[in-house]
Symmetry: C2
Subunit: 100 residues, 2 copies
């Protein structure tokens, strides 16, 4: 079965987040008030083929820990987006991943 996952990677609490500061610094120019605590991370969506969902999750957990995040400064969580057909036709619009 194919399972579509998202891995959300964020800077750990207390770790400097220059991109977040840059966003906050831009808010005045846009005239937007009331926004705070901006943290910028990555979101990686991917499809895993495995025998079952537990097997697919094991693959994505390993990938998240070893390749997609830096455990010293980043935390990650894994979201299941759902079963994916091999042509990705069941993905959400923002995830529709035309494989290049």
């Amino acid at each position: 079965m194919d399972v579509r996952f998202a891995v959300n990677v964020s800077p750990k609490p207390g770790i400097l987040d220059p991109q977040g500061r840059a966003v906050e610094g831009s808010l005045d120019h846009l005239g937007i008030a009331g926004v705070s605590a901006v943290r910028v991370g990555r979101r990686v969506e991917l499809t895993v083929s495995a025998a079952d969902e537990a097997g697919a999750r094991a693959v994505v957990e390993r990938l998240a820990a070893e390749l997609l995040s830096n455990p010293l400064i980043e935390a990650y969580d894994v979201e299941v987006l759902g079963a994916a057909s091999s042509t990705d036709s069941t993905e959400s619009p923002s995830a529709a991943g035309a494989p290049a």
Copy 2:
């Protein structure tokens, strides 16, 4: 009220995603098989103070469209993570955003 949001920004379908290709290219080295359709985007978490949740959502939608994404090549979606105290103590672990 303070509402914590996440804005997920991904490359639109058909748009080249070099970071996704780089991840796929690294899988062999890690000995990981069965992973496909990798798309790398951004995830921005932020707290909005507004009179109500609808007001907060209006702010974050504007921010997502005008600052956090490039509408030509990226799609975004907005997730509500929940009410946030002003000290961010109710955030999820990965989102705990010690403001720098």
